[in-house]
Symmetry: C2
Subunit: 125 residues, 2 copies
Amino acid sequence: MKNKPDASYAYDGLERVIHEKARLSIVSSLAGHPDGLTFGDLKELCALTDGNLSRHLQLLQEAGLVDIVKSFHDNRPLTVCHLTVPGRKRFLQYVAELERVIADAASAAKTATRSNPRTRLATDT
Amino acid sequence: MKNKPDASYAYDGLERVIHEKARLSIVSSLAGHPDGLTFGDLKELCALTDGNLSRHLQLLQEAGLVDIVKSFHDNRPLTVCHLTVPGRKRFLQYVAELERVIADAASAAKTATRSNPRTRLATDT
């Protein structure tokens, strides 16, 4: 995509692999738990189904963001997930861009208060 | 989706229709320009192609977030877009949830500095 100098709302730093809502939940959870989280922990923290969690974890692993270790504990399979070191770095870059979205929204709220809402064509549904 | 009390990273407030990256660009741009933006303005500000912008604007209109007025100016078609009043409200709610993502990330960054990365192999639920 051509990134014009005035594309000030393009938010190119919102890396798509992290931005998707379920994956943002997973990556945020893992960022908050540097000792790792089990599949069961993640399922609860992110309110995801087994199928969705598996699918998104696989995508995150393929993208190099998440490391998944499968082992056995008391004869039961145990899956533990961590953010990789580059994954943590990419998440921090993503969050820095989110901060820009919020700063823009804050300045937009000020503009909207100054503007006369009666002059807007904002019709309701 | 069942919202368990411990689904603390589910971020249910990230409304999907706004969260998608291109639509987030569009809605943020419009929030910053209460007098409305033309199709051409939006294309530049969001760095989107005609096709993508049309498609996402239609979705936003169907979801009641954006109002699109088509008219003529100097015999040329002119499309002007605004956030609707409920659209602005929903965007502010969305941004409040984004602030929670950022607060979680900030507290995660502190946890990560305290934690020793060599000791991570977690326990099961």
